[in-house]
Amino acid sequence: MLGKMDSDMKQPHSRAEPKHRLMTRLWHWVNAAALIILFMSGLNIFNAHPRLYWGSYGSWGDPAWLQLSRFPGWATIPGYYSLADARMWHFFFAWVLALSLLVFMVVSLINRHFQRDVHITRNEWRWSTLRSDIAQHLRGNFTHGGGTYNVLQKITYAVVLFVALPLMIFTGLTMSPAMAANWPWLLDIFGGRQSARSIHFIVTWALFAFFVLHIALVLLSGPLRQVRDMITGGTREPEEHI
């Protein structure tokens, strides 16, 4: 990692590479807005039937594994209960989420963001590396990654990008009767429409937990610099800001 940075910096006339590339920054903010709108309109949709089931079917007469009361208006889009209006917001931003994720993934393979920054090396999978990284986090030292993502960050981002977001998209599609007819394997991999709906709900809250953790760590690790870098790109030399 450091070797690559050294060679980059040795190139004459080349500007220092930004910490976050343009595509990463664009996607980050588009995705943030889409996720917030999807989350809040999703809560409005959930309010139409605040019960969850496993398997293919489930309704008022069937046993639910979770039953909640309605989420309050301040947490939903729109701020009043409207299944039809919430669905309009949800499906519009579902397209934004899915298409921007697709573009981001393709570009990040081409510009090697994934291979360079998110790929977890064999060395990093060692228990000793993981343990020392956890220890550093617990001590409140978040700048030990040498300007690149540390292993806990890599694992988190990989899970969000390659597990959580695709799960949201595909469990969402499974709930569509037309898509379930087009792609019946959706029903098989998630164990039925109501299971897909339950997984959609669970992963929603996993993403919410990520969101809270993400904001908390930004606040703890120099929020001004972190947010500025996610907008302007920043530079890859970490020591400069410490």
């Binding site: 903010w29 943030a32 807005a33 917030i36 709108i37 989350f39 809040m40 949709i45 959930f46 139409a48 039937h49 019960r51 293919s56 079917y57 489930g58 309704s59 008022w60 007469g61 069937d62 208006g73 301040w74 947490a75 939903t76 889009i77 729109p78 701020g79 009043y80 409207s82 299944l83 039809a84 209006d85 669905r87 309009m88 917001w89 499906f91 519009f92 579902a94 397209w95 599609l173 709930m175 569509s176 009767p177 037309a178 898509m179 379930a180 007819a181 087009n182 792609w183 019946p184 029903l187 429409r193 109501q194 709906r197 930004v218 929020p223 001004l224 947010v227 500025r228 907008i231």
Partner: protein, 254 residues
């Protein structure tokens, strides 16, 4: 520092603010034509893409007897409860007629006895309500295609409108589908649910099954099927009760 604070306030909270603002926005904003037009483009995309991704005759999943829901929920109207309906129900719906009107070369009416005497299709399918719940039931009925063939659909017909016996908030329930769904093998006029007459709460004596769409498209208590060129001048003009009254999408594939 002040510069940074302003910047931070602006930037860290911009996305959060967007969500909060949308939540705080009044009905006028969400109901405005422009917002609806922009958001509605996604519904058109769903329609186009979901149709393009599958064969037009692609079947919805059919289940086994063991998968049937213990109780098939009734939603929306669970009893039309008009004097005419009650009288027909008391008589076992012997006088119920399904009329085919509009753009047919041979408009005609069918009694329940005539419908039962026609070739039938039985399918165990999942009913998905727009609210989120699902129920699995075994439906038996006449494939809609057979009725259309008998009445002879005219070339100018683009949609079928299903007029129902029930009223919600004083407005007659109706729904509509296009011809792709009309000719789909699983689209049937069902009169039996789980080996018995369709219960009143589920649409007795006759309801539409259009298995690749959500529950509100499956018109219950159907009295008349009208073939039309366009939906614009029917009722509220959006092709269905919930489409007119509640702004639900006409294409309910998701």
């Amino acid at each position: 520092m002040a510069r940074h604070l302003t910047r931070r306030t602006l930037l860290t909270s911009s996305a959060l603010l967007a969500g909060g603002m949308l939540s705080g926005c009044g009905r006028e904003f969400h109901k405005s034509e422009t917002v609806r037009k922009i958001l509605g483009s996604a519904e058109n995309a769903n329609f186009a893409v979901q149709r393009a991704l599958g064969d037009r005759m692609q079947l919805a999943r059919e289940y086994d007897e063991a998968d049937i829901s213990p109780d098939f929920q009734g939603n929306g109207t669970t009893n039309p409860a008009t004097a005419e309906y009650d009288a027909m129900a008391a008589n076992g719906f012997a006088d119920w007629r399904l009329e085919l009107t509009g753009l047919f070369t041979r408009p005609q009416a069918f009694s329940m006895a005539q419908l039962r005497a026609m070739p039938q299709r039985t399918q165990i399918t999942r009913h998905d309500c727009v609210e989120g719940w699902s129920a699995i039931g075994k439906w038996t009925g006449v494939p809609l295609k057979l009725l259309l063939d008998k009445a002879g659909l005219e070339k100018s017909a683009n949609y079928l409108v299903f007029h129902c016996a029930d009223r919600l908030s004083g407005v007659r329930y109706y729904e509509s589908i296009d011809l792709i769904d009309a000719y789909h093998p699983q689209t049937i006029m069902a009169h039996r649910l789980n080996d018995a007459e369709v219960p009143v709460k589920n649409g007795a004596p006759l309801r539409l099954r259009v298995e690749r769409q959500l529950g509100y498209k499956h018109a219950k208590y159907v009295q008349q099927i009208e073939a039309v060129e366009s939906l614009g001048n029917m009722y509220g003009g959006k092709g269905g009760y919930w489409e007119d009254v509640g702004n639900y999408a006409w294409y309910a594939g998701i």
